[in-house]
């Protein structure tokens, strides 16, 4: 069967003659949802989002409606809305398309959400490297302000909210909710400890704050338009909506595909949608949700417990692409960036590449992540340059265990999970590589045919 795309967030992407201007967006009915929403009750709007059951699209998958519900509305402090556009997860490049090609969709989403939670100031924190995206957004906000969709007295409703756009300075940790809040407030982007710094209570400038991903916010107008009930019926029941899958790596047709959750399996995605592996090659491993999630080995089988209690075996290519099913296979959907590796990839090299990234991006605040990331990176780098020791796989595993769950923010897990899964599933490759090195001398210790990533 052919997998069908259902473009909701990407409905304007790749349309001929589409451009980022407000006229183009308005001609397609843009900002109508905002105008309608401004006449509705705030509580009712928040309930719609809660009813939709949409999970946050940033990576952690926390239900958006719940996030809004936890917001401390009684403190008397101002409420802030922050749009997290610091998309820096390796293998993820989905928000970029929306920002570059359809910025008004995001601005409408932000204004709808800001009205619903009664925020008087919204922020877009955009990744520093997206400099053109920043310019496009600035221009778009200017257009929207001129037309009365942003700023004082939005659409004559009496409600005012402005949007401020801030650029990051090229730091992965700024995408972490509380790290972003610190950075936005002008401090070093250190994630904050919870408790007491739950963003819903003590967020930006210690005021209640909602931080949502670009895609989550773009979903808001859609929910307001068709109703939470209707959105909850898209895709699988406990993970409604569509996901924009960003497939990268060694497949014939990498790209971004917006598909309803659970509507296709991993195999269908890679073979039918993305055209399968390059000629003469086979798949070896897939990371399903951006580099921080656990890796899946091609050919792996999972014992999945069914609702009736029986156990059913599931092949890796049959995993339906939805948050709960990926979770039951020991990995997670994350930011929906699928990274595909085929049989030419040396898993140790790939791991070393990822580890170098995490060691470079660790903020350095808490001990396990700060020291663990560099240590792990040094070990994999050493193995790749011919100095492997047979005890290294176990050491890597043990270090990753010591990091996992002991850190302030999720960067610790994001760094440890790939190591844990990679070493567990591809230990034979590590052992083979190291044994080859131990048997050889000098130059012979290095694998000549593997291509170097770092």
């Amino acid at each position: 069967m052919a997998v069908q795309e259902n473009r909701i967030l990407y409905r304007h992407i790749d349309i001929p003659d589409w451009n980022a201007s407000i006229e183009c967006y308005e001609a397609d009915g843009g900002y109508q949802v905002l105008k309608d929403a401004l006449k509705r009750d705030r509580q009712e709007l928040c309930d719609e989002v809660l009813k939709s059951g949409i999970k946050g699209r940033g990576g952690a998958g926390f239900p958006m409606g719940m996030k809004w519900k936890f917001l401390d509305r009684k403190s008397g402090k101002p409420i802030y809305l922050v749009c997290n556009a610091d998309e820096s997860e390796p293998g993820t490049c989905v928000d970029r398309e929306i920002i570059y090609k359809d910025p008004h969709q995001l601005i409408e989403g932000i204004m709808c959400a800001a009205f619903a939670i009664n925020a008087r100031q919204a922020f877009i924190y955009i990744r520093g490297e997206y400099i053109n995206g920043y310019r496009i957004l600035v221009e778009a906000v200017k257009e929207a302000r001129a037309k009365g969709y942003v700023g004082e007295n939005v659409c004559g409703s009496g409600y005012s909210c402005d949007i401020n756009i801030t650029r990051g300075a090229g730091c992965y940790i700024c995408g972490e909710e509380t790290g972003l809040i610190s950075s936005l407030a002008g401090k070093r982007a250190y994630p904050r400890i919870k408790p007491p710094y739950f963003p819903a209570v003590m967020g930006l400038y210690d005021c209640p704050t909602v931080v949502n991903n670009v895609k989550s916010l773009c979903y808001v107008p859609y929910i307001f338009k068709i109703g939470g009930e209707a959105v909850s019926k898209i895709g699988v029941p406990n993970d409604p909506g569509t996901y924009v899958w960003g497939v990268s790596g060694q497949v014939q047709k990498p790209g971004r595909y917006e598909i309803e959750s659970g509507a296709c399996t991993l195999g269908e995605m890679l073979y039918d949608v993305c055209g399968g592996p390059f000629a003469g090659r086979t798949f070896k491993a897939v990371i399903p949700g951006g580099s921080s999630m656990k890796i899946l080995k091609w050919g792996e089988k999972f014992d999945i417990k069914q609702p009736d209690g029986s156990i059913k075996e599931l092949r890796v290519e049959d995993i339906p692409l939805s948050a709960p099913s990926l979770m039951s296979c020991g990995t997670a959907l994350g930011s929906a960036g699928i990274i595909v590796m085929d049989n030419t990839v040396d898993m140790v090299e790939a791991m070393a590449n990822l580890n170098a990234f995490y060691a470079h991006e660790s903020c350095g605040q808490c001990t396990p992540c700060r020291e663990g990331s560099l240590w792990i990176s040094k070990i994999t780098k050493r193995i790749c340059s011919g100095g492997g020791r047979l005890e290294d796989p176990e050491l890597l595993m043990s270090l990753a265990d010591n990091v996992c769950g002991h850190t302030i923010c999720a960067h610790g897990e994001g760094m440890a999970w790939p190591v844990q899964s990679n070493v567990a599933k591809f230990k034979d490759e590590y052992v083979a590589k190291i044994s080859r090195q131990l048997a050889g001398e000098g130059e012979a210790r290095l694998d000549k045919n593997s291509y170097r990533l770092i």
């Binding site: 400890i193 991006e361 350095g364 808490c366 396990p368 700060r370 560099l374 002991h406 302030i408």
Partner: protein, 555 residues
């Protein structure tokens, strides 16, 4: 009395005050939770992750909110799947804390291993050895075998901070951020901050390096490892050779609690002693160098009569003769004397019918730990009845009385009369006996000069600006030539009263004082944090101190 909550630590039940964090609650319950970044007087950072413990709270039914029971009828405890930091978790009713499970021990070992990975393993040449938290915890909780075979990070060493007051060794730094928070909280501005990131993160100095701050050295006390060391003490003496005496700073009426570290009668350093009612864990930089008076050239080392050095006993006997020679006697009291000495001085003045003079020493109030009254025991002068209103900053009234002939012999306790309005002629008109620590101009001009013991060489009590009586202990022996004021005053009194009582000990004196002066009733047993006296009687006195740390003007 604060509200108490019931908690359970490692299976034992305890009652602790509500609002404490788990580290403090465990501490008062006798369970140690190791930690680096947590400091009781600083905001929580939660970054070292050494204090990870298992926390459980009473399980409740999700729908009804009712407490759930175990099959045996006891309360069911829901433990969090992840370990939580004890410093950032507040105790709550029924909380269970586990600090010794396999999970906790493993996490702790892991964190210590990570810290040591890039930390130099050269304790023998590190000045912090012996009082280093990392050393202690590694021994108690660590994994003694290193698995780290990579190259260690290289970071700057011997960085001078604060105009050379502090030396930073960034390689030893464990990035607990205590110094950064100390700068923010105590120094009052960001002197230090983080630069770079990840494992290459290091402490760096921002534009202004804090050399003009009088509170910079507090960052050294806070440092749990050997990253920040005080240049004045660095490599001077091993910490384990030093013995500690609890003392009180004489710098001002704030009464900073201190520890005096000495070996073989030599003081090596002074550090603050934590007192939550006075100075928290902080001290001024200036009070740390008070011990320098001991070796200073300005110290009065030998007794003198008419400018000729002599034995102290001869000088004392001459002083008695000088004071006895005239009936028009005066005593210049000092707020630098201890409470016991002031009491003796008052007795002496009453016995001999001497007029009492005193002078104030004022300076600028910094709003923290230096008050405008630059004497440690001004309140003592009021309590012992030596003065009843706040004195002037000079002794012109004494000068006037000498010139008019109303005073013919004067005994001065430490005050420098020449700086307080007396001139050369007055020293010829009146016979002046000086007893004190410093070889001031007054000591040189006085008829008799007697060296006395400094604050480090005797025990006593000071009453600070809050009317808090604080005891200080003897740290080192006085030089042979010096005599302590209590024994000096009792010799004087024996001579005048023609009696033969022995020099009382400070403890005997305290017993006597507590029976004679009502508000000093409790001074025989002064707690470590001091004893707050009732100062209501002196509410009308115009004390010059302004609002400051733990002190409100109209207390």
């Amino acid at each position: 009395m604060a509200d108490l909550v019931n908690i359970n630590i490692n299976g034992d039940d305890f009652q602790v005050p509500a609002g404490l964090n788990v580290i403090e609650a465990a501490r008062i319950s006798g369970v140690e939770i190791p930690h680096f970044c947590y400091h009781p007087n600083l905001p929580i950072a939660g970054s070292c992750r050494l204090c990870l413990v298992s926390i459980g709270t009473p399980a409740r039914d999700r729908a009804t909110g009712e407490l759930l029971k175990n099959p045996d009828g006891s309360q069911k405890i829901a433990f969090m799947p992840k370990l939580a930091i004890a410093c950032g978790t507040k105790v709550s009713e029924g909380m269970h804390v586990i600090t010794d499970s396999e999970q906790v021990v493993k996490a702790r070992q892991g964190v210590l291993e990570f810290i040591l990975a890039n930390h130099p393993l050269d304790c023998p040449i590190c000045d912090k050895a012996g009082e280093c938290k990392l050393q202690e915890y590694s021994q108690a909780f660590g994994n003694c075998k290193s698995r780290f075979v990579e190259d260690k990070n290289v970071k700057p060493k011997k960085v001078s901070i604060g105009g050379g007051k502090v030396i930073l060794d960034a390689e030893r730094c464990i990035l607990c951020s205590r110094c950064i928070r100390t700068c923010r909280e105590v120094v009052g501005r960001d002197v230090l901050g983080f630069s770079k990131r990840g494992s290459r993160n290091e402490i760096s100095v921002y534009g202004d390096d804090g050399r003009d701050s009088n509170y910079l050295l507090n960052i050294v006390d806070g440092c749990p490892v050997g990253a920040l060391t005080e240049s004045a003490f660095r490599f001077k003496m091993r910490a384990w050779f030093l013995k500690v005496a609890n003392s009180v700073s004489t710098e001002s009426s704030a009464g900073i609690n201190t520890k005096v570290w000495s070996r073989s009668n030599k003081v090596y350093r002074i550090t603050p002693r934590s007192n939550p009612f006075v100075n928290d864990a902080w001290s001024t930089d200036s009070s740390r160098y008070e011990y320098r008076v001991l070796d200073s050239a300005m110290r009065l080392k030998t007794a003198r009569v008419d400018g000729t050095p002599c034995s102290t006993s001869y000088a004392v006997s001459r002083a008695v003769e000088v004071m006895a020679a005239s009936g028009r006697r005066a005593v210049v009291a000092s707020a630098r004397l201890s409470l016991e000495e002031q009491f003796m001085l008052k007795e002496f003045a009453d016995l001999t019918g001497s007029k009492i003079y005193a002078a104030a020493h004022l300076g600028e109030d910094d709003g923290k730990l230096i008050s405008s009254d630059r004497t440690p025991n001004r309140r003592g002068l009021f309590i012992t009845g030596i003065v009843s209103e706040y004195p002037k900053t000079d002794l012109k009234n004494l000068a006037g009385d000498i010139r008019s002939g109303a005073v013919e012999s004067v005994m001065v306790c430490g005050e420098d009369l020449c700086a307080l309005g007396l001139d050369e002629k007055d020293f010829k008109t009146a016979n002046i006996v000086y007893c004190g620590v410093s070889d001031s101009e007054t000591a040189q001009r006085a008829k008799v000069a007697i060296p006395t013991a400094s604050v480090f060489e005797k025990s006593g009590i000071f009453v600070n600006r809050q009317f808090r009586a604080q005891a200080f202990e003897k740290a080192v022996d006085a030089p042979e030539s010096a005599v302590c004021e209590i024994s000096l005053f009792s010799k004087f009194m024996n001579a005048f009263a023609k009696s033969e009582f022995k020099t009382p000990s400070v403890y005997a004196l305290r017993r006597l004082i507590s029976s004679k002066i009502e508000i000093l009733g409790g001074i025989c047993e002064i707690p470590k944090t001091g004893l707050l006296l009732d100062g209501k009687k002196f509410a009308a006195v115009k004390f010059p101190e302004s609002q400051a740390l733990h002190f409100t003007k109209n207390e």
